[in-house]
């Protein structure tokens, strides 16, 4: 995979997905330092260059490096027509952050070259970045790509960005926001039964042993043979709505 700092930077290319992807792999700040960054080989940004650089698609795909391109991302990118004078992106965009957000992200990315930068400073600098905050939002479940009413929201952006494959076609299972199997949240499945045979299987006892255990429990708790008990999957035994004891206490 070609690294951004090794790429030529012809103006006019902004790869939001790529940087969002890198942000998704980062640490607490949301920005990850990849191989080659911070090794002292970067060049100082060109005087007067804005911190709005981009990675060129052409160089990424051909692995061809332009000799005069700065290795740093401090390149000048023409403002898209949809961006107003205050830096706000007014174009309707189905996914991703605004132009201003991207510029701020690139500024943070470039700041990694500062040897004086501390981790705390990096966190502070990136804490207010919308992209970083959006990636910290919980992932949406399901495969619905529909945009909620009112426009793209932060969680939607996080899902869109972090689920996108790398521009090199690489996918990273298990990365933040990727559709990996995870336990369903906010749902608790309570298992209980009145059937002793089912309870024996649920709790891992053979039928004869479990019957003996039930008899002992009834003996200790003054229950009659005809009393129907409810067995929970943790072994708790209820009678008439109240927990009496735990059947595991009577295991051999």
């Amino acid at each position: 995979m070609l690294l951004p700092e090794e790429s030529a930077a012809p103006p006019g290319h902004v790869l939001l997905g790529r940087y969002a992807e890198r942000s998704a792999q980062g640490g607490p700040s949301g920005l990850g330092r990849r191989r080659g960054l911070g090794d002292g080989q970067r060049r100082a940004p060109a005087p007067g260059a804005a911190a709005t650089g981009s990675a060129p698609t052409e160089s990424l795909t051909t692995h061809r490096r332009a000799s005069d391109a700065p290795r740093h991302f401090a390149t000048t990118v023409p403002r898209p027509s949809a961006v107003n004078s205050s830096g706000e992106d007014t174009a309707p965009r189905r996914w991703g952050p605004t132009y201003a957000d991207t510029s701020a992200t690139m500024g943070i990315w470039n700041s990694l070259s500062d040897p004086k930068l501390t981790l705390a400073g990096l966190k502070a600098a990136s804490a207010e970045n919308p992209i970083v905050k959006s990636l910290a939002q919980p992932r949406r479940t399901g495969g619905d790509d529909s945009i909620p009413a009112g426009g793209p929201s932060a969680p939607t952006q996080a899902t869109q960005l972090s689920s996108a494959p790398d521009v090199d076609g690489n996918d990273f299972p298990g990365r933040q926001g990727h559709d990996v199997a995870r336990p369903t949240e906010n749902i608790q499945l309570a298992a209980s039964t009145r059937n002793p045979d089912y309870a024996a299987r649920m709790l891992g006892y053979d039928r004869n042993t479990f019957g003996d255990m039930i008899h002992d429990l009834k003996h200790f708790f003054k229950l009659s043979p005809s009393d129907n008990l409810v067995f929970d999957d943790n072994g708790d035994v209820s009678f008439q709505g109240s927990v009496l004891g735990n059947i595991h206490d009577f295991a051999p």
Binding site: N208, G211, D216, K218, H219, F221, P225, N246, D249, F250
Partner: protein, 152 residues
């Protein structure tokens, strides 16, 4: 009657098709009173509201629902019918006792012979000798058979 000693609890549990326990229940039961009365140490003893030791030796997760004093034939008798177990218990408790019903009433207690009856094969019918039943019932106690039938 076959007496069996030195058998591990697991062996007993796996092989038992029947056994019985004689138990006194009461919310205000004082185990020492009944230990003194019957003259034997109980196999199980529970004070209401306190955790107790289960047959496996563990401490119970939940406290006792009521006071319990009892003895069982599980560790001593290996017969598959109830009569030997009930006979063992009546002999051990020296039943019938004419004063026992009044004592139970005065203490606010009840007494039962709680019988485990395994009938997973579906062909076992519990039978109790009438003389044993009379001895038990005349002492103010009841007999309850906890049958485990074949799978439905």
């Amino acid at each position: 009657m076959t007496l069996r000693h030195n058998a591990s609890p697991n062996q007993e549990r796996a092989q038992r098709l029947a056994y019985a326990s004689a138990t006194v229940y009461g919310d205000h039961l004082d185990p020492t009173v009944w230990t003194t009365y019957f003259g034997i140490e109980p196999d199980i003893s529970v004070v209401k509201g306190e955790r107790f030791k289960t047959p496996s030796g563990r401490m119970s997760t939940y406290p006792g629902r009521t006071g319990v004093w009892g003895c069982t034939s599980k560790a001593a008798i290996t017969e598959d019918n109830l009569d030997p177990h009930l006979k063992y218990l009546t002999l051990r408790l020296r039943l019938p006792r004419p004063d026992l019903p009044a004592l139970l009433v005065n203490c606010g207690a009840t007494m039962r012979f709680f019988c485990y009856w395994s009938n997973y094969t579906g062909d076992r019918v519990p039978v109790i000798d009438p003389t044993l039943r009379d001895a038990i019932e005349s002492s103010g106690a009841t007999i309850e058979i906890d049958e485990y039938p074949p799978r439905q």
